[in-house]
């Protein structure tokens, strides 16, 4: 599912979790079961907010996130 600005999502799982960058976003707090909001997008990147953390991640990396809209 595509992420869209202004909507809330729950992370179901990481697809193809071997990308080294995924372990970085995991340690930043984005894990399976976490809910987050896509605050905005700008070109090739999203700004997401989970708990009190704001993380910028690019769209090609976001493709590895399997999410559902909530």
């Amino acid at each position: 599912m595509e992420l869209r600005a202004g909507e809330n999502f729950e992370l179901l799982e990481f697809q193809d979790g071997n990308v080294p960058f995924l372990s970085k976003i995991k340690s930043m707090g984005l894990r399976e079961g976490k809910r987050f909001k896509v605050v905005m997008e700008n070109g090739r990147v999203y700004l997401i907010k989970l708990d009190n953390t704001r993380i910028v991640l690019d769209k090609s990396l976001a493709r590895h996130l399997k999410v559902k809209r909530i």
Partner: protein, 643 residues
């Protein structure tokens, strides 16, 4: 006295530096970890019978070795004699902070937990039960607001208590050396659920509100332009009265004072000449710019700690990635405005070698205060009607050449795609002024140290060359003059056919501002040959006069902040005799060419050495050669256009 080592561990942006600064104050030192260019902060603090050695480990989210930062932290904890771990947690993000705490348990070291930013957490409706946390892990827990000094006093006695009583964290059961992802998460999540209470109704998050403007695709860019304008406006206008005062203090007070002492002692006149020409002419000249550099560092450190800079990366990624650059490359490029050396160090946050190389090739072209010093000197002298325009144009030219270099490299040697972009945007914070002042002071101390060593040595060297062979009657016939004259053919196409200018470029490779100190030495030596009026010098009266002038400078500095225009360039500079002499050696076109040469040529030993360490000396030398050729070419073209 017992010496113990305390490793300070925590996530990025939890206020580790601020806390360490609040504990250690001015004993804080900034250096590099051996072998790598990751910044290392450490401090020694005496407390009771102990000397406590604090080592600030890089801000990390995990102890898994993902990048250089984590590797340094793991190596330090494993291989060094760490007596106590000071684990700093973010009250607004406690669960994530506890993930790192969980990873520290297997080290079995006395530990204390400091929960920082509790004021921010309160605003977000987060209440943390520190007693419960202390009970669950079996260690001491302190709550702090480091930026306001709240809770900081407890840290030192608690460190000693944890050390003496061996308060080692545990979760009731034996944990294996290497926790699995799930174990780590279970520990952190379990503790988090027990100690944190969240209120339903919370204040609106100010950061979200500000981000609506700062990250807005159009407004955000306007704000960025305004921020950069204000940065330079304040740096210039606030510091310029102090710059003038120091200049006056050296020339109207120190030189006559030394001359009168030398006279009264009947010491040889060469001593006062040495002082006036090599010490004040060289070192003093460069030192007059300390206020400018201090204010610029202050503002850049402030921006860095406020949380604004990573947002610029988000904002500009859209444009930069079209040029083949990562949004994050904007961070080192902004830092380069402060100093190229830490900017090169900051490229370690870029994940791919290709991107790192691209940005390192660009950084030396971004103008820094050392260049600004040279530009403002020449621009005020040769373009008194519009110096601000000339300086802005030079800065823009540097940026343009930097992008040109990146595009060429991207099309040729450094083809390839851009790596992923992941970065955290910390909440906006008003940095603790004490910390900002202290960090800026560390940089300024380094500049002064350089003036006292490198620049002093270069000034003496030039002065000696100017006075050899013994008894030389005119500086032109001295060794320095001869060297300068041999170099003239190289610089003649740029309109520089004056031996004083070419000679001053040689020692300037150590640091760009030396070009001015060398000119200072060379031209003062010339000036010496012209007759000078001896004036009587009264120490007390002169000192009183200097103090009065200082008071005026303070007043001028603060009033300048209430105007929006750049005032520094509105006042016409009075003509000192030194300035007058330099003015005769250049015309507008050659002065412009000279400034462009100084802008583009990587004439800075510090930058070259840091580049060498980061990417190898072969590549660094290649970039150096490239910058020289480009500088010469652009300088020559400019000269012929404006001639």
């Amino acid at each position: 006295m017992k010496r113990i080592t305390v490793a300070v561990v925590g996530n990025p942006n939890v206020g580790k530096t601020t806390l360490l600064n609040a504990i250690a104050g001015t004993s804080l030192k900034v250096g590099n970890w051996p072998g790598v260019t990751v910044e290392k902060k450490e401090a020694f603090v005496k407390f009771g019978d102990y000397e406590i050695h604090f080592v600030d480990l890089p801000g990390i989210y995990t102890l898994e070795p993902i990048s250089e930062d984590e590797k340094i932290a793991i190596n330090f904890l494993k291989n060094e004699k760490v007596d106590v771990i000071l684990n700093i947690l973010d009250a607004t993000n406690l669960e994530r902070s506890l993930l790192l705490t969980a990873e520290l348990i297997p080290f079995k070291k006395p530990t204390i937990l400091v929960i920082n930013l509790v004021d921010e957490a309160q605003k977000l409706g987060i209440e943390i039960d520190e007693n419960k946390l202390s009970e669950l892990l079996g260690v001491k827990v302190i709550k702090t607001v480091a930026s306001k000094g709240i809770g900081v006093k407890e840290v030192l006695p608690t460190i000693i208590e944890a050390y003496e009583k061996k308060l080692i964290p545990s979760v009731g059961k034996e944990v294996s050396e290497k926790l699995s992802e799930d174990e780590k998460f279970a520990i952190a999540h379990g503790i988090y659920e027990e100690v944190v209470k969240k209120k339903k109704f919370v204040e609106r998050d100010l950061t979200d509100l500000i981000d609506n403007f700062v990250l807005h695709p159009v407004l955000g860019i306007l704000i960025f332009v305004a921020v950069i304008f204000l940065l330079f406006k304040i740096a210039f206008d606030f510091s310029s009265p102090f710059v003038d005062w120091i200049d006056g203090f050296f020339n109207d007070f120190l030189i006559p004072a030394v001359a009168s002492i030398v006279n009264s002692l009947h010491a040889p006149e060469i001593i006062s000449r040495f002082f006036a020409e090599a010490v004040v002419g060289g070192v003093g000249f460069v030192l007059t710019f300390v206020p400018l550099i201090f204010v610029l560092y202050l503002l850049i450190t402030f921006l860095e700690m406020s949380g604004y800079i990573p947002r610029v990366a988000f904002l500009f990624d859209k444009y930069l990635h079209r040029l083949g650059l990562h949004g994050k490359s904007v961070i080192p490029l902004i830092l380069a405005l402060g100093c190229n050396v830490p900017a090169i160090v900051a490229t370690r946050t870029l994940e791919s070698w290709r991107e790192k190389l691209l940005v390192i090739a660009m950084i030396p072209l971004i103008s820094c205060p050392a260049r600004l010093v040279v530009f403002s000197f020449f621009a005020l002298m040769f373009f008194p009607e519009y110096p601000a325009l000339v300086i802005t144009a030079l800065y823009l030219l540097g940026i343009l050449v930097a992008f040109f270099t990146a595009i060429i490299l991207k099309r040729t040697a450094l083809k390839g795609g851009i790596s992923h972009f992941v970065i955290e945007l910390p909440p906006y914070r008003f940095p603790s002024l004490k910390t900002v002042l202290n960090i800026s002071w560390i940089h300024v101390k380094d500049f002064i140290y350089r003036a006292g060593t490198l620049i002093f040595a270069a000034s003496i060297f030039i002065w000696v060359l100017l006075n050899l062979p013994p008894g030389v009657s005119s500086p032109k016939d001295s060794f320095a003059g001869k060297i300068g004259q041999t170099l003239i053919p190289v610089f003649k196409p740029m309109g520089i056919d004056d031996w004083q200018a070419t000679t001053s470029l040689i020692p300037a490779f150590l640091a760009r501002e030396i070009v001015l100190s060398s000119m200072g030495v060379i031209y003062s030596a010339e000036e010496h040959l012209q007759e000078k009026n001896e004036e009587s010098f009264e120490f007390a009266k002169a000192l009183e006069e200097q103090l009065e002038l200082l008071a005026t400078a303070v007043k001028d500095a603060f009033t300048s902040l209430f105007s929006l225009s750049l005032q520094t360039f509105e006042v016409e500079e009075e003509e000192g005799s030194l300035r007058y002499l330099i003015k005769q050696s250049f015309d507008k076109a050659s002065a412009l060419a000279f400034m462009i040469f100084i802008l583009i040529y990587t004439s800075c030993l510090g930058t070259y050495a840091t580049m060498g360490r980061e990417i190898g000396y072969k590549l660094a030398t290649l970039f150096l050669g490239y910058s020289f050729l480009l500088a010469w070419l652009v300088g020559t073209i400019t000269y012929h256009i404006f001639k």
